[in-house]
């Protein structure tokens, strides 16, 4: 008998499949509910097989459902999230790359202290920074704007992006930097011509990480913006907490949740391979 056919193996796989199913269950319920009408769910149960395909849930969720007295679905909020996540991702990644480059390859007095302070940002809880940020945004006159969230996520994201990039760049041989100095390349030319062309693996990692994190972020979004300025994560909560009628629109809510998850899933499917590789790769040969 082959190893893989022993009863112990069967049991192992059965247990693993059971756990996997349990983990996937909420997603399955949400997907199924996105195709069930509110009436159907109310009549039977939140868990159940759809009787037909209620596509109108998706249409409603996208552009018709009323959220906080605006009946445009989650589309405007998705747009808000893009307007915030794309620039914040690009800015935080670009700044993190420059900062990581400076710390790892242009050693300066106190560079390790600067690095330690920057990385400390990774470990500070979001809640702790709410009030300081509120004060800063008021001073800057950015209260309830998407620009405010771009600023916050750029600044806070730099802790992660600097850490990622610095750890990657530290693998670039010092001899390359020396050669560039002898050749007469300055700070920015060395970065642009030598370091940046070596960076795609780590830049893909930071972009995925930043985009996912910023897109999914909720606390700052719900705290610093209201109404039409809110990102989609805040809007999803608004859908759930303000039922339009007595009937809870589980179907539309499910469709909205799935729509909101599409961008990060796309990013993961497109760049996930690089992500897994990039997190482990450090050596540049």
């Amino acid at each position: 008998m082959r190893d893989s056919l022993r009863p112990g193996r069967w049991l192992l796989y059965a247990v693993l499949i059971g756990f996997a199913g349990f983990t996937l269950l909420p997603l399955v319920v949400v997907i199924l509910n996105s195709f069930r009408t509110a009436q159907e769910i109310a009549r039977t149960s939140v868990v159940g097989w759809p009787h037909g395909l209620a596509w109108q849930n998706w249409v409603q969720a996208w552009s018709g459902y009323c959220i906080a007295q605006r009946c445009e679905g989650i589309r405007p909020y998705m747009e808000n999230s893009f307007m915030l996540a794309v620039p914040a991702t690009i800015l935080s990644t670009a700044l993190g790359a420059i900062a990581g480059y400076s710390i790892s390859l242009w050693r300066f007095r106190g560079d390790t202290i600067v690095f330690a302070v920057v990385v400390m940002g990774v470990f500070l809880p979001e809640q702790m920074k709410l009030i300081p940020w509120a004060l800063v945004l008021r001073e800057l006159g950015l209260t309830n704007t998407i620009a405010a969230l771009v600023l916050i996520h750029t600044v806070q994201g730099m802790s992660f992006t600097t850490l990622f990039c610095r750890n990657y760049y530290i693998g670039i041989p010092q001899d390359l930097m020396k050669a560039a100095r002898v050749d007469g390349a300055g700070y920015f030319r060395t970065f642009w011509r030598i370091v940046l062309p070596l960076s795609p693996p780590i830049l893909i990692v930071t972009v995925i990480w930043q985009f996912t994190g910023i897109w999914n972020e909720f606390l700052y979004g719900v705290t610093f913006t209201t109404g039409g300025q809110q990102p989609v994560t805040a809007a999803l909560i608004a859908i759930a907490t303000t039922p339009a009628t007595d009937l809870v629109e589980y179907g539309i809510q499910s469709a909205a949740v799935l729509l909101a998850a599409v961008p990060t899933l796309l990013v993961y499917f497109l760049g996930g391979r690089y992500f897994l590789r990039g997190l482990t790769a450090g050596a540049i040969k």
Partner: protein
């Protein structure tokens, strides 16, 4: 004209003093090799000359121009690194022209320079490749091409051959030497490989513990080592150094080791001051050989033999001192055997045991 002039150079890393007052003058057109064990400061010295490290004290002049405050790019130098340090994302052509690009040299001039260097190093066919598509030897050539294209006052080589396999290293050694013969530039070449130093250098600076022990032509460094360190560092196997007593021998001198007495012809006058005193006697292994050659006979006990094919290295005990001899490969010896060896003492070196310096 002096291409390089280093005066009283000191360099510390934290509390470690890596360079302890280096003085070095290299004439234009010389091939100067900095040779020493790892950690002796030779690479640090090269980096200070290049302007990649700042000295704590002392001056560096390149082409009789003081360069202490001048950045690496303006020192009129080119450097070849041990790791080659080719820019991975650039083609060979871009690697070679990058320096000119930084200095704003016009494109036609760049192309001309690349063509010249590519022909010189026979890398014409590789210009559009990336470093990852090259073999070790080809990368080495490109690294040299990047340096050569500058036509600088001073070439700095930092162990450029140590990443190559043995065969290629021998080939490149010859090639670099020929190249130097053709272009006649001044080269400062760092290595820990004494064969490289001996074969290529016009002068060798032997370094140890942050100091230059001797700076002289290869045959001088080899035959008249300035001190015991140089004597014991150079040569494979290195020079035998034995405690001996210097005595008068008629008009001349002799050294006694226990009961063995070795006449020493051709010693400098200064040695007379050490008569009836202890000295270190230095004898190259090739000066101690099998009987049948002229010289003083030594009664020896064979300890081990190391046949290399062309010759056999014999570790033997003479009057309680261990020494190495080189004998012809057809001389059959076995460990434990007593045999007579012959010492040719004409090129013997004497060292002052107090200062460890060569006498005379």
């Amino acid at each position: 004209m002096a291409a390089l002039n280093v005066r009283d150079l000191h360099k510390r890393f934290g509390s470690t003093e890596v360079l302890k007052g280096i003085d070095l003058t290299v004439e234009s057109g010389e091939f100067a090799v900095l040779l020493g064990p790892s950690g002796c400061g030779k690479s640090t010295l090269l980096n200070v000359i290049a302007g990649l490290e700042q000295p704590n004290a002392g001056t560096v002049e390149i082409g009789e121009r003081m360069v202490n405050a001048i950045p690496a790019k303006d020192r009129d130098i080119a450097m070849v690194f041990q790791s080659y340090a080719l820019y991975p994302s650039m083609t060979v052509r871009r690697n070679i022209t990058f320096g000119m690009e930084c200095r704003g040299v016009p494109r036609p001039q760049q192309d001309e320079a690349v063509a010249r260097v590519a022909a010189l190093l026979q890398i014409d066919g590789l210009l559009e490749r990336r470093p990852s598509q090259l073999s070790g030897g080809q990368r080495q050539r490109v690294a040299m091409g990047r340096a050569l294209v500058r036509n600088p006052l001073l070439f700095l080589f930092d162990e450029p051959l140590s990443n190559l396999d043995a065969q290629l290293r021998v080939d490149m050694r010859t090639e670099i030497k020929q190249l130097h013969g053709r272009i006649r530039s001044t080269i400062i070449y760092v290595t820990h490989d004494q064969i490289e130093a001996m074969t290529m250098a016009s002068r060798i600076a032997v370094m140890n513990k942050g100091e230059i022990q001797q700076f002289a032509a290869p045959d001088v460094v080899y035959n008249r080592p300035a001190n015991l360190f140089v004597a014991r560092f150079l040569g494979t196997p290195p020079m035998n150094t034995m405690k001996a007593r210097l005595v008068r021998d008629g008009d001349g001198l002799a050294a006694t080791i226990g009961t063995v007495r070795l006449p020493l012809p051709a010693q400098p006058q200064a040695a007379r001051a050490f008569i009836d005193r202890d000295v270190f006697l230095g004898l190259r292994p090739e000066c101690i050989t099998d009987p049948g050659r002229p010289g003083a006979t030594l009664e020896a006990e064979v300890l081990t033999i190391e046949p290399t094919g062309a010759e056999t290295i014999v570790l033997a005990s003479v009057a309680g001192e261990r020494l190495r001899a080189r004998v012809a490969p057809d001389v059959r010896l076995t460990p434990g055997q007593r045999t007579a060896l012959v010492a040719d003492t004409r090129s013997a070196c004497l060292f002052d045991p107090a200062t460890e310096r060569l006498i005379g």
